[in-house]
């Protein structure tokens, strides 16, 4: 082209797995100093592609050019030697070790403690990264943990840095901080390959975007020119359906109230719930935002009945004290819960879908009589869930573990929603679910609320909460902020609360009735 070879150029890259083609004839280029977005839905083949670039997987066909010369990247070590750094979505960190030890473990060749320490300090200085090298990882926020991964990559002065879904767990302020670092890196000539499905972030950060769908490149565009909607439609290959909201929202009577709920977390790394108070009314969707690991799991367990409150009156469901009732008794009162972890918590992977349906629906639907399971009814109910929520499976006899993440989530959501609960508590309803299925789940939640149920949605996805919830609270280090109407809340405020800058401690708004 203009004399300077692209930093990275792929052509004709194809990767097949048994039964699927993950990448077909993929070609794109990343220039030196360019921030390039790789955009696509879950399952579009982004992860496979970056694994090929980083040497984790080998392509079946195709060519990779590095600074104009063909290369074969056999393993991550070879990739790092070329100057490719990668920050994975799931961090490879060791909770009980210090930041410095974690960085040392990420090095290919041993470096003296003093030398490494000096080098780390230098990088922290250059990029204005606040991070204490002597802290143990489990005491750090997710944003700080990500910085460890970034330092690990920067220590080798990379020429290409791959960021895989880096912002999914960050507060808006942390995202802004990350973008500044990435821009600084790019200005120094480091190319950045930025993988995400969050369109506004890509518009804010990236100069060029390659869009993948079904393993193929469907478009290359300038995200600053395209609209978020047009990119989303390229990404999913269809028109995007907006969630239909009922107009106006008159709050009904309180269906669940929580007052001063405190619970010690499970050691060693559990979070203590501290004086949590909330009220959720008929027809209301209450969103609970927060960075992962701030007490969301503990809150869900406390609401579902897996952990019992100290006093019965701390949790009231439809006027009944439920704080000391277990999950089964609370389900009989009309509460249903969907935990974040699908396999092993929301469903038993080895059990059939019908058996999994019996596990939570037996109370409200009477699927067990005199100690015997009513298999025909259970099967019929499971079939209804599969049909109404378009779960892709072979039938009620399929094991839960055989379903893909998104499909299992649809099944679990359907299993709870079709029981017509009066209170539904759900954590991460659309985590790892593709956009089509996510829209379907959102619609089902909105419809359930419209029918008079009270819903609590715990999520790390702010966009989801802003589009779904009527009211919003933020959980941080086990404390819940005051509840506010979504319409009156700005992203900045939420971000500050997520980062732990507390406003005045206010009792949950509104009185209990």
């Amino acid at each position: 082209m203009n004399g300077v070879a692209p930093r990275l150029a792929l052509s004709g890259v194809t990767k097949r797995f048994p039964g699927v083609v993950a990448n077909r004839d993929v070609a794109f280029e990343v220039q030196p100093g360019e921030i390039h977005a790789l955009l696509g839905e879950n399952g579009a083949g982004k992860s496979t592609l970056v694994k090929i670039i980083y040497g984790v997987l080998a392509a079946d066909e195709g060519e990779v050019l590095w600074d104009g010369a063909p290369v074969r990247i056999a393993n991550p070590k070879a990739a790092r030697r070329l100057g490719i750094g990668m920050v994975f979505q799931h961090f490879s960190l060791f909770d009980a070790l210090t930041v410095l030890e974690n960085i040392a473990l990420g090095m290919d060749e041993a470096m003296g403690r003093a030398e490494l320490s000096a080098r780390v300090d230098e990088i922290l200085e250059t990029y204005h990264l606040p991070l204490d090298p002597m802290r143990e990882v489990h005491t750090l926020s997710v944003g700080e943990r990500q910085r460890i991964e970034i330092v690990r990559s920067l220590i080798r002065t990379p020429k290409l840095l791959i960021m895989d879904e880096p912002t999914s767990v960050l507060t808006p302020q942390e995202v802004e901080r990350l973008f500044e670092i990435l821009r600084q890196l790019a200005s120094e000539g480091c190319s950045i390959l930025y993988i995400s499905h969050k369109l506004h972030e890509i518009q804010a950060l990236c100069e060029r975007a390659t869009i993948l769908r079904g393993g193929e490149v469907v478009a290359e565009c300038d995200p600053k020119i395209e609209t978020a909607k047009s990119m989303a439609e390229l990404m999913i290959g269809a028109d995007l359906k907006e969630v239909e909201r009922r107009a106006g929202n008159e709050a009904g009577e309180a269906r669940m109230t929580v007052r001063g709920l405190s619970l010690p977390g499970e050691p060693p790394f559990g979070v203590d719930l501290d004086e949590v108070s909330l009220t959720v009314r008929a027809g209301e969707i209450l969103g609970i935002a927060g960075v992962a690991g701030n007490g969301q799991n503990e809150l869900l367990a406390a609401l579902s009945g897996e952990s019992l409150a100290a006093k019965a009156a701390m949790i009231r469901i439809d006027g009944t004290d439920a704080g000391r009732l277990g999950p089964g008794a609370r389900r009989r009162l009309g509460l249903a819960a969907v935990p974040e972890e699908r396999n092993g918590h929301g469903a038993v992977p080895e059990f059939s879908l019908a058996d999994n349906a019996v596990l939570t629906a037996r109370h409200r639907l009477g699927l067990v009589a005199a100690g015997f399971v009513k298999f025909a009814e259970a099967r019929a109910y499971t079939e209804r869930v599969i049909r109404d929520f378009s779960v892709r499976t072979t039938g009620p006899g399929a094991s839960a573990g055989s379903l893909s993440g998104g499909n299992l989530q649809k099944f679990i959501m359907g299993r709870e929603i079709l029981q017509a609960p009066s209170v539904l508590v759900v954590s991460q309803p659309t985590w790892g679910v593709d956009a089509g299925a996510a829209a379907q789940i959102h619609q089902a939640l909105v419809d359930l609320a419209a029918g008079g149920a009270a819903i609590v949605v715990i999520s790390q996805d702010l966009d989801e909460l802003l589009s779904l919830a009527d009211n919003l609270a933020v959980i941080n280090e086990g404390r819940l902020s005051a509840i506010r109407p979504v319409a009156e809340t700005s992203i900045e405020e939420i971000g500050l609360l997520m980062g732990g800058v507390h406003g005045e401690v206010v009792e949950a708004q509104g009185d209990a009735r």
Binding site: V56, P76, K77, S92, F94, D95, A96, L97, E101
Partner: protein, 308 residues
């Protein structure tokens, strides 16, 4: 109490503590890598009988100690193949290894029952140990010095060396270690073999030092005490050292109470004390909030299967 008796007590405490310290140190390293080998008692018995058989047939106690280490490591290798390569349940495999060790030691030891061997003796010449301090400093069996050196080496290895850091990382998060590019299984094999060799050496302590006379089940359950000690010490080598000497002290109570003519408590009760203390310690530690898991490697006893 006369100085004579004080020194005598001290000497027996060191003798009783040495094998449990050796075995527990090995197990600590194994557990730090994320593997729980409950077969300590079995590996110690295999070490004990190997040491005795070699010492009895060749006349060399030192060769016996060396073979004990190899035999312990070989037994650990069986455990490693089952749990690491074939990802069998570690608890069940460890228990099976103990039962196996009891059987093997009985079988191999049968012709030697009642025989005596020339033990390891003392490390330093008698002349150095002719006064009180000389005895305290230089009068112990060679393995006592080995065990103390091992404590220092293990502390240094775990906290100061890169290899030790990798070992702790593997025990902390096998997935993360694997994704960075460390061989989880390889590291664990090395740790398990080390643990086996240390257990074998600990076993040889019973047959070559404490009672240079073969009897069935010579280690008498001390392997279980060593196991509990690792938890007691919250996986820290220095605490392990203190714990081993504490337990060694309790174990020798019985002997000295008898020698001193104390008949306040039945000797059977005193013999039971170390085991009671083990149960008490484990209960107290587990009762403390966050106690039992504090310091425990996060991946302890969790099998690892490498995925792509």
């Amino acid at each position: 109490m006369t100085p004579e008796i004080t020194i005598a007590i001290l000497m027996t405490v060191v003798g009783a503590s040495t094998p449990i310290l050796l075995a527990a140190l090995g197990e600590l390293v194994v557990e730090k890598s994320g593997v729980l080998n409950l077969g300590l008692e079995g590996m110690m018995l295999i070490g004990a009988v190997a040491a005795f058989a070699v010492a009895a047939t060749t006349g060399s106690a030192w060769l016996g100690a060396l073979v004990a280490m190899l035999a312990g490591a070989a037994a650990a290798l069986i455990f490693g193949v089952l749990t690491l390569t074939l990802t069998a349940n570690q608890v069940a495999t460890g228990l099976a290894l103990t039962i196996f060790g009891v059987g093997v030691s009985s079988l191999v030891g049968a012709p030697f029952v009642g025989m005596t061997v020339e033990g390891l003796g003392t490390l330093f010449p008698e002349s150095l140990a002719d006064d009180a301090w000389g005895r305290i400093l230089f009068g112990h069996n060679p393995l006592a010095y080995v065990s103390l050196l091992a404590v220092v080496l293990v502390v240094w290895f775990l906290n100061r060396s890169r290899a030790g850091l990798i070992l702790r990382a593997v025990g902390e998060s096998d997935e993360a270690a694997h994704s960075i590019g460390y061989s989880v299984i390889g590291v664990r094999y090395l740790a398990v073999l080390f643990g086996g060799a240390m257990a074998g050496l600990a076993g040889s302590c019973y047959s070559l030092v404490l009672t240079p006379l073969w009897a069935d089940q010579l280690t008498a359950g001390r392997g279980w005490i060593a196991l509990a000690l690792v938890v007691f010490a919250s996986w820290r080598p220095w605490r392990l050292f203190l714990g081993a000497y504490l337990f060694g002290g309790v174990m020798t109570l019985e002997l000295h109470a008898k020698a001193a003519g104390l008949s306040l408590l039945e000797p059977e009760f005193l013999a039971m004390l170390p085991y009671l203390a083990t149960i008490a310690v484990l209960t107290i530690i587990s009762l403390r909030r966050s106690g039992a898991r504090a310091g425990a490697p996060a991946c302890l006893a969790k099998p690892f299967r490498a995925s792509a």
